[in-house]
């Protein structure tokens, strides 16, 4: 562990900065809420199936399932996301070498950014 201790304590130096950042965060939420409030949706019509779009952070999953129709749905809906999440969960054990610098962890970097790129790629594909 290279924890070089500075002489600055959390309070008041960082406490002040953290307070400012927390206020900016809340401000961003309030501004977005005033400018772009969600609308009231249409009332449910059980007779007319319409193709909904899930929340943007589920779009990659929605897009992935389209590649696996019929009895293969399971692969896109559960298996691949399950493997992806397992890799994410176990990342510190899979990438367990002593090096912290990303340049010295080429495999971890490839897998990590590969995972990120596929999620972003699928999301973009779904937005097209």
């Amino acid at each position: 562990m290279r924890t070089t201790k500075s002489d600055k304590t959390f309070f008041p130096y960082y406490f002040f900065e953290i307070t400012v950042i927390a206020l900016f965060t809340i401000e961003a939420v309030l501004i977005l809420a005033v400018l772009f409030p969600p609308a009231i949706g249409r009332e449910i019509d059980f007779s007319a199936q319409f193709s909904p779009r899930p929340e943007w952070y589920f779009l990659f999953l929605y897009e992935l399932t389209k590649f696996f129709p019929g009895k293969w749905t399971f692969v896109g809906a559960v298996l691949l996301p399950g493997i992806g999440f397992s890799v994410l969960l176990l990342a510190p054990f899979l990438d367990s070498g002593g090096e912290r610098s990303l340049k010295k962890r080429p495999v971890a970097a490839a897998v990590g950014f590969g995972l990120l790129a596929s999620v972003i790629g699928l999301t973009m594909l779904s937005l097209l």
Binding site: I40, D45, P52, F58, G98
Partner: protein, 214 residues
């Protein structure tokens, strides 16, 4: 200050505060370290706006949609509170991704901080579950059909799929029972679970401190 002394003698809170507040902060940290804290700020915003929304929402098949309409048209600041809940939720997902990306790039999840990451991964999963269950609650066209698709995905699991799906839906199809179930998840089960995992995440980071020198 006599009241403060009285309370402090009995509760001993200054001792606890001092330990946290006087903790030296490692050198070389920068604003990228703030993503986790920003995520937590958004979480607190969600708790507050969620508590307010729950005062006006009815989790029943016949009334849910009407209660959203009432919230928008009659409740003072109703639209605004719902919009803030909506945006804080969306931004929370963004900030979690950025937070995880920062931790990954700096290799901060390495020994002795592996379990911080594991707890954090569960927090990601819980946050997405909040998003999924909350999406149904307005009980409108978009919410209903998105949940039909989502729960059909659960059904695709071999052997136990239909059992899992009926467990999630509270029946064979998405119905008022599903709405009640998702509402219960969204405001009771998931908050309890996320509180436990947040406590673990914060307890661990307080024990080990953050990695210094990026």
């Amino acid at each position: 200050m006599r009241l403060l002394d009285y309370l402090n003698d009995r509760l001993g809170f200054t001792g606890r505060h001092r330990r946290i507040l006087d903790r030296p902060v490692p050198k070389g940290i920068n604003y990228f370290t703030c993503f986790g804290g920003i995520t937590f700020t958004l979480f607190l915003t969600l708790v507050l706006t969620g508590l307010l929304l729950s005062l006006h929402y009815t989790p029943a098949e016949a009334d849910a949609y009407k209660s959203i309409q009432r919230l928008h048209r009659e409740v003072p600041l109703g639209t605004f509170i719902r919009a803030a809940h909506h945006w804080a939720g969306n931004l929370m997902v963004v900030m979690i991704v950025l937070h995880m990306l920062r931790v990954f790039v700096t290799g901060s999840y390495k020994s002795p901080r592996e379990l911080h990451w594991v707890a954090g991964s569960f927090l990601l999963l819980l946050t997405l579950s909040f998003g999924f269950t909350g999406y149904l609650l307005p009980w409108d066209q978009k919410a209903y059909w998105a949940t039909v698709i989502g729960t059909n995905m659960v059904e695709s699991v071999p052997f136990i799929g239909s059992f899992l799906a009926s467990l999630v839906r509270g029946g064979a199809e998405v119905s008022g029972q599903t709405l009640l179930r998702f509402y219960s998840m969204h405001i009771l089960w998931l908050p309890v679970l996320i509180a436990v995992f947040l406590w673990m995440h914060f307890h661990m980071i307080r024990r080990t401190g953050i990695t210094g020198g990026m």
